[in-house]
Amino acid sequence: MAHPATPISPPLKDELDIVIPTIRNLDFLEMWRPFFQPYHLIIVQDGDPTKTIRVPDGFDYELYNRNDINRILGPKASCISFKDSACRCFGFLVSKKKYIFTIDDDCFVAKDPSGKDINALAQHINNLLTPSTPFFFNTLYDPYREGADFVRGYPFSFRQGASTAISHGLWLNIPDYDAPTQLVKPLERNTRYVDAVMTIPKGTLFPMCGMNLGFDRELIGPAMYFGLMGDGQPIGRYDDMWAGWCTKVICDHLSLGVKTGLPYIWHSKASNPFVNLKKEYKGIYWQEEIIPFFQSVSFPGECTTVQECYIELSNQVKEKLGHIDPYFEKLGDAMVTWIEAWDELNPPSKATA
């Protein structure tokens, strides 16, 4: 195979930001250096803003702590969670790039079954740059992948697919279980490498985990709000779930695709299940009503942009979930605040990359 005379630039080098929420440290970046160093990082420092988080040398980054968030957003900062990784969505807000990859600071490079290091970022980019197939399920999974295709019976008119808005990656080692499952199976580790990327069909909801996630900010960014969690809130560990349900119903309405599967990262840290249970337990009850709500959400035809869909959704949240707990009124208001902040920081006249 001929090699080009000039080195090929890492894909989407100037079009993608890596957003990392952290309250601890960024030591994990050393392992990711070969894959991340060409890219711009946005670090969102949660917790005590007086603490200094050291970023390893050689990375191009911007770092925001709580003081920065308050300064930049003013009163609207109330929509950004404190003491919860939900604060990561502040990074989505201030990014100027088309694509985002977000990863937790306890996620490391995994190996594929052949022993090779997995470049999770490259796989996410591949997922986002190839179409999804939400309208008809392909039994051989991603038909655009090398070595695969659409199977017999797959309608030809659907083979163009839809634009991919979200790429949801998975985790080897510590699986993303809820607290009750962690308590029952404290030693279970995910060792199964499932070599597939697939589109989640239109009309189907899923639990979106924010640990290893890529998305097209221009297609779905305004809906990637991670809710009100953590300090001062009755619930935690449902931030990414909330964003996942909101983005999925909007993607379905706008005919955008959501993929799940590869890439895997190595999740190293099991959080304390008793602490998790305290954070989650309201969510465990509330989700029994929240899910039917999302399953029945529909948007009027006039909602043609993500922002319009999201504002509509915030109204429906207050109207239909408000009876569960006053939290949902606050959340609905925060969703509106978020959109206001988004539009303020990302004015429509901004030239696209």
């Binding site: 070595g147 295709d149 019976g153 309608p155 809820d178 009309g203 985990c209």
Partner: protein, 352 residues
């Protein structure tokens, strides 16, 4: 929660013989098939005598048996469609069926995958069609429901259809195979997942298993192409009944799984030759998708037979005007339910 084990004597393995000598096929499958009862259907269009190796507990049905048992029927049980006769005469709760150009697949170390055992496991454990689990089958060892999966949905629903996959020759249509003559599926995806509610998929009849008692009436040879041939990519009857079966399952809150087991599909046929025939199947698929997306079954349809009859009426009315083949499919569906009620409820005796 316990999920009752499926016993060997609850399973029939249905084999369609499209080639006269089943020796090498059955020898390859002997480790997996030998504990089960086999129903072997000889394609009525095949003239030569069938060779079956010793040591299999089986019943063989030939044209004369089929004519005697079926009586007068408008359904042509020939080619790939004669396998469905096996579903009619089986007395078991579960059926596993594999095309006779498939052999057991091997893993990287050369160990054979037991496709039958995997199908049975898929049918034994519940399906989860109402919410997608990102770690795929939550009932598998080493896996579970992920954070955010509603607890009220964790019991799942009964899985009645298990759709396996294929290594080597994937189940592509003729144009795809002709465009990529050297492409072989070498990717083993170690997952089984539930096809979500309302999601449509193409059911490949090459490697499936199902609960005959529950969903048998919805697996029928309905949509037959005028130029239907002896190669898989010249047929569409499995795709059609698969879409009907999925709609029925969605209506009755039953599950459909897709993924493992894999079988190894041998090289057969020439896709380019098939291109000379009309691409009738693919054109028809364009009409069926909007139809199936809009099918709504009444609350009163509580068993598969009733659902199939309802769908047949809708097909006749809405798709019949589009192409006469759909009208024929609707008639075949009605006839199939009649046969199911007539034949599947009496004990047949195969010819000697």
């Amino acid at each position: 929660m316990s999920h009752p084990i499926i016993k060997d004597d609850e399973v029939d393995v249905v084999i369609l013989a499209t080639q006269p000598d089943l020796t090498s096929f059955l020898e390859e499958w002997r480790p997996m098939f030998s504990r089960y009862h086999l129903i072997i259907i000889k394609d009525p269009d095949m003239q030569k005598d069938l060779k079956i190796p010793e040591g299999f507990n089986h019943d063989l049905y030939m044209k004369s048996d089929m004519d005697r048992i079926l009586g007068s029927t408008s359904i042509r049980f020939s080619g790939y469609s004669c396998r469905y006769f096996g579903y009619l005469v089986s007395r078991k709760k579960y059926i596993v069926t594999v095309d006779d150009d498939c052999v057991p697949a091997k893993d990287g170390r050369g160990f054979l995958f037991d496709a039958v055992a995997q199908h049975i496991s898929n049918l034994r454990f519940p399906a989860t069609p109402f919410f997608f689990n990102t770690l795929y089958d939550p009932y598998q060892k080493g896996a579970d429901f992920v954070r955010g999966y509603p607890f009220s949905l964790r019991n799942g629903v009964k899985c009645v259809l298990s759709c396996g996959l294929w290594l080597n020759l994937a189940d592509y249509d003729a144009p795809t195979q002709a465009l990529k003559p050297d492409e072989r599926n070498s990717r083993y995806v170690d997952a089984v997942l539930t096809v979500p509610l309302k999601a449509m998929m193409p059911l490949s009849g090459i490697n499936i298993a199902f609960d005959r008692e529950v969903i048998g009436p919805a697996l029928f040879p309905g949509l037959r192409l005028a130029g239907e041939g002896k190669q898989r990519w010249e047929t569409i009857e499995d795709i059609w009944c698969g879409m009907c079966a999925k709609v029925v399952c969605d209506h009755l809150s039953l599950g459909v799984k897709s993924g493992t087991p894999y079988v190894w599909r041998k090289e057969t046929g020439n896709a380019i030759e098939t291109l000379k025939k009309e691409w009738q199947g693919m054109k028809l698929m364009e009409e069926v998708v909007p139809f199936f997306q809009s099918v709504k079954l009444p609350e009163t349809a509580v068993v598969a037979e009733d659902c199939v009859l309802e769908i047949a009426t809708m097909v006749k009315k809405r798709l019949g005007p589009v192409d006469p083949l759909f009208g024929q499919a609707a008639d075949a569906m009605v006839e199939w339910v009649r046969l199911w009620k007539a034949v599947a409820s009496v004990s047949p005796t195969p010819g000697v």
